[in-house]
């Protein structure tokens, strides 16, 4: 379970540009939930992910995963239980290292990075297999630097790498936004598959309302640092894009967009 309790977050505190993003913001994500988060720019979606992962500090409040208070835990330690895929496909891989080296790095998450051989030869077949499941032909390019792959291929690898080792939570930060529609579709299907397979508790920020409605079992719309729509379970199943869009437009008109 991920719990955000009474989170306060200000940007530029103490200056004329001070902006309050979250004031007593609360959110509970239950184990096994796949939450799609939508909302206009500046509504606090990505900030929320950054707060959960520890990429930005908060001014007040408590963050818990499971029953553990992680408010003060540094970002890198939180990642032991979290996998994260970013909007930018190059954030999840190392461009100058080969596919094989990248896979080896990801495979070693949670263990010691010591002076033993970087790539475990016995694992290569298993890497091939998981790359093969992407259907992108990457299994034949093990020794190619990841930097020479396309954005879609890199994002597929990033997803694979983020979910390779046992994690509990998957954080997806607009991870299909930089891809063409066909590749985005492929990545979404892969995401759904891996979330179901590994039973990951997932939070996905997206601008694609269709994905938000089609995938996951809970939908949240955020606006100015608050949750304005929160539909879970059966209620979400009957939700249609139009009703979400309507609310979205309503908000946008309020903002004068």
């Amino acid at each position: 379970m991920i719990e955000l309790v009474n989170i306060n977050k200000y940007y530029n505190p103490g200056t004329v540009n001070e902006m309050c993003l979250f004031k007593d913001f609360n959110l509970n994500v239950l184990d096994g939930e796949f939450v799609s988060v939508v909302g206009s720019n500046g509504s606090g979606k990505t900030s929320m992910l950054n707060i959960i992962c520890g990429s930005i500090p908060i001014d007040r409040g408590t963050i818990r995963i499971g029953s553990e208070d992680i408010t003060m835990m540094p970002e890198y330690q939180r990642q032991r239980r979290i996998g994260r895929v970013y909007q930018n496909p190059s954030m999840g891989t190392c461009p100058t290292m080969t596919i094989l080296e990248n896979m080896s790095l990801a495979d070693n998450k949670g263990m010691s990075f010591n002076l033993t051989r970087g790539t475990n030869r016995k694992r290569i077949d298993s890497y091939r297999e998981s790359l093969h499941s992407l259907n992108l032909g990457l299994e034949d390019k093990l020794h190619v630097p990841v930097g020479s792959l396309s954005g879609g291929q890199r994002q597929a690898m990033a997803l694979l790498m983020a979910t390779m080792t046992p994690i509990e939570f998957l954080i997806l930060d607009e991870h299909t936004a930089a891809l063409d529609p066909k590749t985005a579709e492929l990545i979404m299907q892969l995401t759904d598959q891996v979330v179901k397979e590994k039973k990951l508790t997932t939070i996905m920020v997206t601008h694609n309302l269709r994905y938000a409605v089609e995938y996951g079992n809970r939908l949240i719309m955020m606006h100015q640092g608050e949750v304005v729509i929160d539909k879970a379970g059966d209620e979400k199943k009957v939700t249609e894009i139009d009703s979400i869009l309507e609310k979205f437009n309503e908000i946008s008109i309020e903002c004068g967009n």
């Binding site: 330690q77 190392c94 100058t96 790095l105 990801a106 990075f113 002076l115």
Partner: protein, 298 residues
């Protein structure tokens, strides 16, 4: 012929000593993407400690290890300044380099320390016994070659370990290192430690080869290192079979050949640093020019 040969030997000797230093700069500049100026201080640091220890009677081989360790310690300090105190990379190096100047003077006691009369790794009773008389001129080059090859192989092996993978990852994309639940700051500190250990080792070898320690021997180290790295990695880019570490060693030798050529063409020895700087500028401009041409071809 004799004259030409002695010039070539000289170039090789200088090139190989500085190659070890250049391998260190390769780690920071190419792998970590951290322009580390502390090498201007760690190179003479290795020299200072070596001169003092050799005079105190410590075996020359042992001074190599101690210089290596001391260099690593200096690298850790640069890393701590950058990571923990959040000082910019370039400034952390400058702070360390400046502090080390005084520290090196303290260690050595004075600006010049001669060890001509002492045994070094290049000049000792053991070598006198085993090296044939007519090979005398080549002994230094052979010893250097052995050390360079060992250090290069050690670095190659390290870069293939899990720790080495992480080091390469942190320069490439440090977000990924965080995603792997590792502290990227610690990885950077390890990288700086290894790099400066190589540089201090080169400083130790340089002092043993030249027979004296001189406080200003570190000035411009970073420029020589960067020039070697850039020459090497650019010239051998097309040859995928040649490892970057090998290319850096060749880069260092080529660079020293260019300097020797400039001196042979009539520049004075006192112009050395000027030659160093101008050569570096030329190399940078050429590699920029090439990049632009490659882009234009796209």
């Amino acid at each position: 012929m004799e004259y030409l040969l002695s010039i070539i030997i000289g170039i090789l000797e200088e090139g190989l000593v500085y190659a070890i230093m250049a391998l260190g700069v390769y780690i920071t500049y190419k792998i970590l993407d951290f322009p580390d100026l502390s090498v201007d201080g760690t190179f003479p640091l290795g020299g200072a400690i070596t001169a003092v220890l050799i005079i105190a009677g410590v075996p020359p081989m042992v001074t190599l290890f101690l210089a290596f360790l001391l260099g690593a310690l200096a690298g850790v300090l640069t890393g701590l300044i950058h990571v923990k105190l959040k000082v910019r990379d370039l400034l952390s190096g400058i702070i360390m380099m400046t502090a080390l100047y005084s520290l090196n003077l303290r260690i050595a006691g004075k600006a010049n320390v001669a060890i001509f009369t002492k045994e070094t790794i290049f000049d000792n009773a053991f070598l006198d016994r085993i090296a044939p008389e007519r090979m005398k001129d080549y002994v230094t080059v052979v010893i250097l070659l052995v050390i360079v090859v060992i250090m290069k192989l050690l670095l190659d092996i390290y870069l293939k370990t899990k720790s080495g993978y992480l080091l390469r990852a942190v320069g490439d994309n440090d977000t990924l290192v965080t995603s792997l639940a590792k502290d990227k700051g610690v990885v950077k500190i390890i990288g700086l430690a290894i790099a400066n250990a190589f540089v201090a080792l080169a400083g130790s070898i340089y002092t043993q080869k030249s027979g004296f320690f001189e406080i200003s021997s570190g000035t411009g180290t970073i420029v020589i290192g960067l020039a070697s790295v850039i020459i090497g990695t650019n010239m051998f880019k097309q040859f995928t079979l040649i490892k970057a570490t090998t290319a850096v060693i060749f880069g260092s030798i080529i660079y020293k050949a260019c300097v020797a050529l400039a001196i042979a063409l009539g520049m004075a020895a006192s112009d050395l640093k000027l030659i160093t700087a101008v050569l570096f500028l030329v190399i940078l401009v050429i590699s920029n020019e090439r990049k632009r041409r490659v882009k234009a071809n796209d």
